[in-house]
Symmetry: C2
Subunit: 157 residues, 2 copies
DNA sequence: CTCCAATGATTGACGGGTCAATCATCAGTG
DNA sequence: CACTGATGATTGACCCGTCAATCATTGGAG
């Protein structure tokens, strides 16, 4: 019964929020750590390799890649620089537009992705899916959907 | 009905997982961005300032601070270095143990925290709480609890 | 009193991310 | 053809986080 009125969030809601966001963060970190020890890949590496693996000719334009994984160009460019040093990908000049950059998955990169993929899915199973009942999973889906809508995500194509 | 059997996660579960973790990440980023524009603080700064604000004498030993916000020492040390440059906190030698470092909230820091606090709580309300019904919030709490238990969090005191 | 292992904290190197600035090339206009 | 604005991508500066190495001090054990 404070004098502040509706200005302040109640303690329980705040606790729920903090637990929610902290748990998600810990999950992310654990997944990252498993991926790292299983395959020496970061989750960033994984996203890039996944997109390239699924692409026709194991190759994408830099901007297509950025769109497909939802990254800013500059972030991708920095990351590709690091991945190129490790020979996971290669950059080639683009045939039709010499401003463009064609990103190609190397054999090394493909192999690393193959090694990482199954353990990564298993980690998602172990750390997340196994913790929740089917009903809880439905609730997660529902509340995620509400959040995404509220935040204006799920861009209409 | 693949030949892989139980090895592989079904596509829907994977979608739920990806939406869950991606949404949490986007929420985190939006909160961070609001805090930044409202008060020129990062969420790291906020945690540190919050802990110091609540501490007796606006001051804590470095290791106490680390425990209280759950950070690694080295992370805290780096962060305090940056905060000290901005005069949000001050480091003093510890009276009883000269290995120790006493972290003190400056007036500048206290003022910054005061400025940031209310808008930050409002952002949590706007971006998270307002998106969910009371029932959904209960579901969030429940599933977070299941996850935390599964992950072995919530250390028994 | 002298070691020396344990403790509190910092440092450096490096991967990662954002933002603003830059660079090269392309494509349309006069 | 010469400009010029838009586009694709990279760069540099800076914040943030982890890990391993380091440094100073403390507090026994001998």
């Amino acid at each position: 019964m404070s004098t502040q009125g509706r200005k302040s969030i109640d303690a329980e809601q705040l606790r729920i929020w903090r637990n929610y966001i902290e748990t998600a963060e810990i999950l992310r970190a654990r997944l990252e750590s498993r991926l790292q020890s299983d395959s020496a890949l970061s989750s960033g590496d994984y996203h890039v390799l996944l997109a390239l693996s699924e692409a026709a000719g194991r190759s994408l334009r830099s901007s297509e890649l950025a769109d497909s994984i939802g990254w800013e160009r500059s972030r991708l460019s920095h990351h590709l620089g690091r991945m190129e040093k490790r020979e996971l990908i290669r950059r080639e000049r683009c045939a039709d537009d010499s401003r463009g950059s064609q990103i190609v998955l190397t054999d090394t990169g493909a192999a690393a992705f193959r090694r990482g993929s199954v353990p990564h899915l298993k980690a998602i199973q172990d750390l997340f899916l196994d913790a929740l009942s089917r009903e809880q999973l439905d609730h997660v889906e529902q509340m995620t959907e509400s959040l995404r809508e509220h935040l204006g995500l799920d861009a209409p194509s």
